[in-house]
């Protein structure tokens, strides 16, 4: 029976999918967090994302670029145009003037986020040989996504005495190989939140992860909202066409 073949295929497929996480390295499991943007109806927690932007601006951006994102993208976390213009104007970006001379001018909302280093070599030279990765896509570019980033940011500790650390390297429970070039970036009260939220390490990690999840996939909310309509439409059409099919086939002996 075709049914048996299908059943065998489904069973084997389930087995294969269940066994697949082993592909993502044999490391300790990432603790799962409840993210506001998870699930088919998830949206970005605007307050968390704005606090996360503050963490990015005051901490991460000292070393990490985010060059695929524009200042105007901040509309998606609830900033007004005036606020965005002010954020952009607070930094200068390299340009040329009308005479072709190199200048630094205040950034516009249409500019990409300013990179902290002129190029990768400069980033490498300033960071003990390890260039800090660009954060534009960081949530999509790591297995585990938001859970991984949160775990990484909160996973710093002293190295176990049995472990021989490389020069200038730091111990992190969740980093592949456990030796990471980045120094623990967050510490209690590292930023002062405008909304009075206590700036614990976990809070900052959660906020900046929310912000970077937005930056990695700015289309998320639009995508999910449209998706609900499209999927429901096709399910409805399945029912309608099935009814029509029954009607057309009603007088066929089959």
């Amino acid at each position: 029976m075709m049914r048996w073949v299908s059943l065998a295929a489904v069973a084997a497929l389930i087995g294969a999918v269940a066994a697949t996480p082993a592909r993502a390295n044999e490391e300790i499991a990432l603790p799962h967090q409840n993210w506001s943007f998870a699930g088919p109806f998830g949206t970005f927690d605007r307050a968390a994302a704005q606090r996360g932007f503050q963490v990015y601006k005051e901490v991460c951006s000292a070393c990490h670029s985010m060059k695929l994102a524009y200042y105007r993208d901040l509309t998606g976390i609830g900033l007004s145009e005036a606020q965005i213009a002010a954020v952009a104007a607070s930094v200068t970006v390299p340009d040329t003037d009308d005479d072709g001379a190199a200048i630094d001018r205040p950034a516009l909302p249409s500019d990409h986020f300013r990179s902290p280093f002129a190029n990768e070599k400069a980033a490498r030279a300033a960071n003990n040989g390890a260039a800090p990765p660009d954060l534009s896509l960081i949530i999509k570019a790591r297995d585990g996504g938001a859970d991984y980033l949160y775990a990484l940011l909160t996973g710093f500790s002293a190295a176990p005495s049995t472990m021989k650390m490389g020069d200038g390297m730091n111990y992190n429970k969740y980093y592949p190989g456990n030796q990471i070039g980045m120094v623990a970036p967050l510490s209690e009260g590292r930023v002062t939140y405008a909304d009075g939220t206590p700036a614990s390490v976990n809070q900052m990690a959660k906020d900046v992860t929310t912000f970077l999840a937005y930056i990695s996939e700015p289309e998320t909310e639009m995508r999910k909202a449209l998706g609900v309509k499209v999927v429901l439409f096709f399910l409805l059409m399945t029912c309608v066409t099935y009814a029509v099919k029954r009607k057309i086939w009603a007088d066929v002996d089959h």
């Binding site: 029976m1 570019a141 499209v230 059409m237 007088d251 066929v252």
Partner: protein, 423 residues
């Protein structure tokens, strides 16, 4: 009038065209009244689904190409520009990227449908062979397409796959250099892959045209695997199968849309969101899921050339299936033993897929070898030998006539013993 086709169409404008170029008559003959076995189940949806998926791929692909830049220094960023700045660019790209997975899913089901119901047997051998050619072209197209976003997996996947040709004795290395257009995967490689990725789908259309043309000569197989005996066994394609295909299509699009909107990166690799870097090799280089079984066969053979030959052989073998199967009975409904072996083949393919996703160590090496051995054993030994040994169940007289008593599951409704009420 001499030289003009005698058209039955009443509309004068269409009649005028049809008399000179009888495309309307042809459509009516091939898709309107085309006699189709009346007992298709929903597995016969998948040919139409594959066709529509190809149309979706070409439509989205053309719009992606308008916004994509095939240069190593710009390809990655241009894809991100599509995702962030092009209106609904994320939608077009996610439909295209996940469409590849849906296309292979549909085609693999279509192929196993053909294997289960013996659709490859005489007189449909050429139809099957053209199908295997389609699969090969699809694999090439998918591989070229995966390179275009120029992420880490794109780059290293291209490096690994093109390097397979270096296993060829003597001329292997020069061939690889020739494929690359240089001494490593670089800008000339990306450019030619883009050109080929745009070209091959149109080649695919040509081969699919032949596939469908061959189908319309022999007519469709059916779940009973017996020949159509007369008009009482068939229905006109329209409206009976246009509507039945529409049901499957709507459900398929609902599933497709679910993936695109809610799990668009499910089939993707995180490493491909990192720009290609020739100096950093990813921890694991893994192809897309639809190529994993073949990748597993490649790695199961402890010899580079042997692995490459076995991998290509596993697809090449499919060309011979019509002659490897010696059973006179088409449908597995009447092959009580073979159906279990075919089920085992499905399991072997899925296991090989899982093996391909894992590092070749521990249990995975053994599973990979077992899967590979079964795959070849199935086609080279079981298929020819079992056809001679197996005692098939009695075949029904015709699609619309009574089915003789037989063991196993319930009777297919299409074979119910009732006279035709509608001619």
């Amino acid at each position: 009038m001499a030289g003009l086709h005698k058209s039955d169409i009443e509309n004068p404008v269409i009649n005028w065209i049809d008399s000179r170029l009888p495309i309307f008559t042809m459509l009516q003959k091939e898709y309107g009244v085309f006699p189709t076995p009346k007992n298709f189940n929903y597995f016969w949806n998948f040919g139409a689904l594959a066709m529509i998926t190809l149309m979706i791929m070409i439509a989205t692909g053309i719009f992606l190409a308008m916004n994509y830049t095939a240069h190593t220094s710009m390809a990655f960023d241009s894809v991100q520009r599509i995702m962030r700045d092009v209106n609904y660019g994320w939608l077009i790209r996610y439909v295209h990227a996940n469409g590849a997975s849906m296309f292979f899913l549909v085609v693999y089901i279509h192929m196993f449908r053909g294997l289960y119901y013996g659709s490859y047997k005489a007189p449909r051998e050429l139809l099957w062979i053209l199908g295997v050619v389609i699969l090969l072209i699809m694999m090439g197209t998918a591989f070229f397409g995966y390179v275009l976003p120029w992420g880490q997996m794109s780059y290293w996947g291209a490096t690994v796959i093109t390097n397979l040709f270096s296993a060829i004795p003597l001329v292997g290395e020069p061939i690889v250099t020739w494929l690359w257009g240089g001494f490593s995967v670089a800008n000339p490689t990306l450019n030619r892959f883009f050109a080929l990725h745009y070209l091959l789908p149109f080649v695919l259309i040509g081969v699919i045209f032949l596939h469908v043309a061959a189908l319309h000569v022999t007519g469709s197989n059916n779940p009973l695997g017996i020949d159509v005996k007369g008009p009482q066994d068939t229905l006109p394609f329209h409206p009976y199968y246009t509507i039945k295909d529409s049901v499957g299509l709507c459900l398929f699009l609902a599933i497709f849309a679910y993936v695109v909107f809610f799990a668009p990166n499910f089939f993707g690799a995180a490493d491909n969101e990192i720009p290609a870097n020739p100096l950093v090799t990813p921890a694991e280089i893994v192809p897309e899921w639809y190529l994993l079984p073949f990748y597993a066969i490649l790695r199961s053979v402890p010899s580079k050339l042997g692995g490459v030959l076995m991998m290509f052989g596993s697809i090449g073998l499919l060309f011979l299936v019509p002659w490897l199967d010696t059973s006179p009975v088409r449908s597995c409904k009447f092959r009580p033993v073979y159906r279990w072996f075919l089920g085992l083949l499905v399991v072997a393919c899925v296991v090989l897929g899982a093996v391909g996703a894992h590092r070749p160590e521990g249990i995975w090496v053994l599973l990979g070898r077992l899967g590979t051995i079964y795959y070849f054993l199935h086609f080279l030994v079981i298929l020819p030998v079992l056809g001679k040994l197996e005692r098939p169940l009695p075949l029904p007289e015709s699609i619309s006539k009574a089915v003789l008593p037989r063991g196993g599951g319930p009777l297919p409704s299409g074979a119910a013993a009732k006279p035709m009420e509608k001619a």
